[in-house]
C-alpha cells in the first residue's frame, strides 16, 4: 500500500489526530498527535489493511527551531507464515510524533512492539525523551550516572568523568602527531 | 536453651561411648592359648611369609613411617576440630583419610588402603565438598559454637581420651611379630564370596537402596 493511501486511512480513522502528512518528501511520513499515538500505534499494528508488525527504528530528533523533540517510528509489514491473509503486505511507513522540548513525555509503544523497548531506552538516553509506561527506562548506551543527553543540540561534553580527563588534547601538553 | 540441649547431647554420646569402650576393653582378649587350633596355622603362615614376603619393611623404617603418618593423621584430625570453614574441614579430613590409607598400607592391607583412597578420598569427600557448595549461602560458611560448649566438649573428649589410653595401656595385648599374613586380593575375594557372602550381598542391596533413596531425597519437592 502506498503511503498516500495509508495517510488517507489514518485520517479517516483518527481525524484530527493526524496532525500533518508529509508526502512530497523523499521519505513520506505522518505526524501524529501525542494523545492519540498509542491508539494509532495499535491500529497500525492490528488493522488488517496496515499490519505493521515490525517496528524497525525509532529515531529521535532535536528540532531546535520549533523548540520540539520528535520521535520517528519506521514501520515495516513483514510477511509471517501463518499469521492470517493480511500478513503478506510488504509496505513500510513512518510516523512522527512531536513533543515539547522542555517537557518531553511520550507514551511508550513497547507493549505493542517489543522492539521499541531498547529503541525507547536509547532515545531516552541520548535525546532525553521520557517514555511513560516503559518498564525499564534506564540509560542504555551511556553510563547510568551520565549527566545530560548527548544528542541534543545544546549538549556540552563534560571535561571530566570520574577523574578521567576528556578532551585530552587540550588538557595535556603532549605532542600531537 | 539450645546450648543446654547440645551439651546434654554431648554428655549423652560420650557416656554411651565410654560405657561401650570400657566394657569392650576390660574384656579378655583371646590370646593364642585360647585358640590353639588357629595358633598352629598362624605359625605356619608366619614361617612361610618370612621366606616369601618382599614387602616386609624393617622395623625402624616401619616405626618412622608410623610416626610420620600417625602424626599426620592426628594433626589432620585436630585440624578438623579447630577449623570453622567446612571446606577447610574437608581438606583436613582429606589429610586424615590419606594418612589412614598409608597406615593401612603399612599394616599390609594394601587393598583396603587403595579402597580407602578411592571410596573415601575420591568419592565421599568429593560428595561432602559438593554438598557444601550446594548448601552454602556465602563462600565461607561458619556456624559458631558457644565457647562454653567448646570447653565442655573438649573436657569430655579429653577425659575420654585419657580413660581410653589408660585402659589400652593397662590391657595385656598379645604380641605377635610384625610378619603376619600378607593379605592377597585373591584370598580377600574368596573370603568375601564364601564366608561373608550374606553381608556382601546385603551391602550391595544397601548401596542400591541408598542410591535410590539419596536421589529421591535430593530431588524431593518442598
Amino acid at each position: 500500500m502506498a503511503p498516500e493511501e495509508i495517510c488517507i486511512i489514518l485520517k479517516q480513522e483518527f481525524g484530527d489526530a493526524v496532525a500533518d502528512t508529509v508526502l512530497s518528501a523523499r521519505r513520506p511520513y505522518a505526524v501524529i498527535a501525542i494523545d492519540r499515538w498509542r491508539d494509532v500505534a495499535a491500529f497500525l499494528r492490528d488493522d488488517g489493511r496496515m499490519r505493521f508488525n515490525m517496528l524497525q527504528c525509532i529515531t529521535s530528533l532535536d528540532l531546535v527551531k520549533e523548540n520540539k523533540l520528535a520521535a520517528v517510528y519506521d514501520l515495516f509489514s513483514v510477511p509471517v507464515v501463518g499469521v492470517g491473509p493480511c500478513a503478506v503486505l510488504r509496505h513500510h511507513f513512518a510516523v512522527r510524533v512531536e513533543v515539547d522540548r522542555d517537557n518531553p513525555h511520550l507514551p511508550t509503544v513497547s507493549h505493542i512492539w517489543p522492539a521499541a523497548d531498547w529503541h525507547e531506552r536509547e532515545a531516552f538516553d541520548l535525546m532525553g525523551i521520557v517514555f511513560d509506561g516503559h518498564s525499564d527506562l534506564t540509560r542504555i548506551l551511556c553510563p547510568d550516572d551520565w549527566v545530560g543527553h548527548p544528542l541534543r543540540k545544546d549538549y556540552e561534553f563534560p571535561l571530566e568523568y570520574h577523574g578521567i580527563p576528556a578532551n585530552t588534547e587540550h588538557e595535556i601538553n603532549s605532542p600531537r602527531h | 536453651m539450645i546450648e543446654q540441649r547440645q551439651t546434654k547431647n554431648s554428655f549423652l554420646i560420650v557416656g554411651l561411648v565410654l560405657a561401650a569402650c570400657a566394657s569392650s576393653a576390660s574384656a579378655q582378649y583371646p590370646t593364642p592359648e585360647n585358640r590353639p587350633a588357629r595358633a598352629a596355622e598362624s605359625e605356619l603362615n608366619a614361617e612361610e611369609s618370612v621366606v616369601t614376603s618382599t614387602v616386609a619393611p624393617n622395623s625402624a623404617v616401619e616405626a618412622a613411617l608410623f610416626y610420620l603418618f600417625g602424626g599426620t593423621l592426628l594433626v589432620s584430625a585436630l585440624g578438623v576440630c579447630v577449623t570453622k570453614s567446612v571446606v577447610r574441614m574437608a581438606t583436613w579430613l582429606f589429610g586424615a583419610l590419606g594418612a589412614a590409607a598409608v597406615l593401612y598400607f603399612l599394616m599390609g592391607a594394601a587393598f583396603l588402603g587403595a579402597i580407602q583412597l578411592i571410596v573415601y578420598a575420591g568419592g565421599t569427600l568429593i560428595l561432602i565438598v559438593f554438598g557444601v557448595m550446594l548448601t552454602s549461602k556465602s563462600p565461607w560458611v561458619r556456624f559458631d559454637c558457644p565457647r562454653i560448649e567448646m570447653w565442655a566438649a573438649g573436657g569430655v573428649v579429653g577425659v575420654l581420651f585419657v580413660a581410653l589410653t589408660t585402659l589400652l595401656i593397662g590391657t595385656q595385648w598379645p604380641t605377635l611379630s610384625a610378619a603376619a599374613h600378607p593379605a592377597t586380593i585373591a584370598e580377600f575375594g574368596k573370603e568375601l564370596l564364601t564366608t561373608y557372602l550374606v553381608p556382601f550381598e546385603v551391602g550391595s542391596v544397601l548401596l542400591l537402596v541408598v542410591m535410590i533413596g539419596a536421589a529421591h531425597l535430593a530431588r524431593q519437592e518442598n
Partner: protein
C-alpha cells in the same frame, strides 16, 4: 615528557623471589648453551638425545638386573632381606661376583654397584628417573599437542624457541610461568587456594609409581596397582574442586561443580570397563595383566571377545571425561566459564594444573594400553622371538626390545592414544553438561552393565579355544586392524592433502601500482 595525571595509582614494579631468579638464570644459561647447538644440528641432536635416553635408561635397568643377579647368586634370600637399609653383601663379595661373571673392570665397578643393593638407594634412583620422565612427558605432550593442533588447523605451531620446530617451546613457557607473579585474589581462601594445585598435581605423579612400563619396569609392584591408580585419578578431582571453591569466583565454582559431577559419574563406567579385563585375566596386578598379552596382537585383551572390544572403547571415552579432555572439557570450557576452575590462577600454580592434566592423560592412556592393547608387547608374538633363537645376549635383547616387547612399545602406544586424544580435542565441539551426564548415566552405564554380564557369560560358556573363539578373534582383530590403519591412513591423507597456510592467495597488485 609530562606526567599524565591518572586517577589510578601506578603499580610498583614486581619483585621476583630469589627462587624464581635462580630458576630463570639457570634456564637462561641452559638455553644459551644449547640453543646454538640445536640450531646448528637440529636433526642429529634430537635423534641422538632420544637414543641416549633410551640407551641410558636401558643401561640403568641392566645394571639393576646385574646387581640382582649377583645378589641372588650370592645368597638366595638376599632380596627378601634387603630392606631399606639392610645391604647384605660386602664389597669384596660384589667384586667376587663381578669377577665370576667375567665383567671387565670389576675392581672399580664394584664400588659403583655396591650401594645399589640397598633398597633405599635403588628407590631414590628409580624415583629420580621416574620424576624426570614425568616432568618431561607433559612438556613434550604439550609441545606435541601444539604441533598436531597446528597441523590440523593448517598452521605450523611453535617454530621458534630452540630452533627446530620450537622443540623447547614448552620449557620456555614453563620458565615464563615460574617467573610470573603468583596472584591470589583478595577474597580467596588463601591456604586452600595455594594448596589446591598441589592436590591436583601430586596424585597424578603418584599414579606413575604403580604404573608398569614393562614386565620389570615398575617402581613399586603392588597387586592393587589398578585400584591405586584409579584412586589417584579420583583424588586429582579434589584439587580441582578445592581450586574452584577457594578462588571465590563464580566461574571457578561452576567449573568445580561440573568437574565434581563429571568425575564422580564417569568413574563408574570407567571402573566397570576396567573390571572386564580383570575378570578375563583374574588379577588386579597390572604387570600380570600385561604379561598375558604376549602372544601377538591377536592375544590383546581388546580382541579377546566382542565385549572387551566394546569395553575398550567405553573406557577410552570415559577416560577422556576423566582427564577433562575435549569433548568433555567442561570444567575449563573457555567459551562458557572463562577458564573454569583455574580462572584465578596464574604462573606456577596454573602450570601445575596442566602438568597434572597431561600426566593424567598419560596415565589413562597407559591403563588403556596395559589393559586392552597389549601392554608393552608389539603386535608380533613373543613366540616368534623365541623361534628365532636369539639367545640372551645384549644385542638379542635389544632386538627383542625393539621388535617384540619393552617400554618403548608401551610409551609408543601411549603416545598414539595421546595423539588420538589430541586429534579428538581439535576436531569436536564441546558437549553440554546435561548431555555429558546423560551420556554417562543413561548410555555408558547401562551399556557397561550389559557388557559386564555378557562378558561374564561369554567367559563362562563360550569355549576359549574353539571355532567360535577363533572366528570372533579374527573378526575383531580385523576390525581393529582396519580401524588403526584407517586412522593412520586418514592422518596421512590429511597431511599430504593439507591446504596451504593462511594467506596463500598472495596479492600481486596493490592499488596505485
Amino acid at each position: 615528557m609530562t606526567q599524565l595525571s591518572v586517577p589510578w595509582r601506578p603499580r610498583a614494579k614486581q619483585q621476583h623471589g630469589p627462587m624464581a631468579a635462580l630458576v630463570a638464570g639457570f634456564a637462561k644459561a641452559l638455553y644459551a648453551t644449547f640453543a646454538p647447538l640445536v640450531r646448528a644440528f637440529p636433526g642429529p641432536l634430537l635423534i641422538g638425545a632420544i637414543v641416549t635416553v633410551i640407551v641410558g635408561v636401558w643401561a640403568n635397568y641392566l645394571v639393576f638386573e646385574f646387581v640382582d643377579t649377583a645378589l641372588v647368586a650370592a645368597d638366595t634370600n638376599v632380596v627378601a632381606e634387603t630392606g631399606l637399609f639392610g645391604g647384605l653383601l660386602a664389597i669384596t663379595e660384589v667384586r667376587a661376583g663381578l669377577i665370576a661373571a667375567g665383567v671387565p673392570g670389576a675392581g672399580t665397578l664394584c664400588y659403583l654397584l655396591y650401594p645399589l643393593q640397598y633398597g633405599l638407594v635403588r628407590d631414590v634412583i628409580g624415583a629420580g628417573g621416574l620424576l624426570g620422565f614425568i616432568s618431561v612427558i607433559p612438556l613434550y605432550v604439550i609441545w606435541w599437542e601444539r604441533k598436531v593442533a597446528g597441523r590440523i588447523q593448517s598452521r605450523t605451531g611453535p617454530m621458534r624457541v630452540g630452533g627446530w620446530h620450537g622443540w623447547s617451546q614448552s620449557m620456555a613457557d614453563g620458565i615464563k610461568l615460574i617467573c610470573k607473579e603468583d596472584l591470589c585474589p583478595a577474597d580467596a581462601d588463601r591456604p586452600l587456594f595455594k594448596l589446591a594445585p598441589y592436590l591436583a598435581f601430586v596424585p597424578a605423579i603418584l599414579a606413575f609409581f604403580a604404573l608398569p612400563f614393562g614386565t620389570y619396569w615398575v617402581f613399586r609392584e603392588v597387586d592393587v596397582a589398578l585400584v591405586f591408580i584409579l584412586a589417584m585419578l579420583g583424588i586429582e578431582v579434589l584439587g580441582v574442586i578445592l581450586a574452584g571453591w577457594a578462588s571465590n569466583n563464580k566461574w571457578s565454582v561452576y567449573g568445580a561443580m561440573r568437574e565434581a559431577c563429571q568425575m564422580v559419574s564417569y568413574e563408574i563406567p570407567m571402573g566397570m570397563a576396567l573390571l572386564i579385563p580383570i575378570m578375563a585375566v583374574g588379577t588386579l596386578s597390572l604387570t600380570e595383566l600385561g604379561d598375558t598379552q604376549s602372544g601377538g596382537w591377536t592375544s590383546w585383551i581388546v580382541f579377546r571377545n566382542p565385549f572387551t572390544f566394546v569395553a575398550a572403547i567405553a573406557y577410552y571415552i570415559a577416560s577422556l571425561a576423566n582427564c577433562k579432555r575435549a569433548p568433555f572439557d567442561l570444567p575449563e570450557s573457555e567459551s562458557e566459564l572463562v577458564a573454569g576452575f583455574h580462572t584465578e590462577y596464574s604462573g606456577f600454580r596454573w602450570s601445575l594444573f596442566f602438568f597434572g592434566e597431561y600426566a593424567a592423560m598419560f596415565v589413562v592412556s597407559g591403563l588403556c594400553v596395559i589393559l586392552f592393547f597389549g601392554a608393552w608387547y608389539s603386535p608380533l608374538p613373543m613366540s616368534l622371538a623365541e623361534s628365532w633363537g636369539l639367545g640372551d645376549s645384549l644385542i638379542a635383547r635389544a632386538i627383542k626390545g625393539l621388535l617384540f616387547a619393552g617400554p618403548l612399545w608401551f610409551v609408543g602406544k601411549c603416545v598414539f592414544l595421546l595423539y588420538v586424544q589430541i586429534w579428538i580435542r581439535w576436531t569436536l565441539p564441546r558437549i553440554r553438561i546435561d548431555q555429558v551426564l546423560y551420556a554417562c548415566i543413561q548410555v555408558l552405564l547401562p551399556l557397561m552393565m550389559v557388557v559386564l554380564m555378557g562378558h561374564t557369560l561369554y567367559e563362562l560358556f563360550v569355549p576359549t579355544h574353539g571355532l567360535v573363539w577363533s572366528i570372533f578373534n579374527i573378526i575383531l582383530s580385523l576390525i581393529g586392524a582396519v580401524a588403526v590403519l584407517g586412522m593412520i591412513f586418514i592422518a596421512t591423507y590429511g597431511f599430504w592433502n593439507r591446504v596451504g597456510l593462511v594467506g596463500s592467495l598472495g596479492v600481486e597488485t596493490l592499488p596505485g601500482s
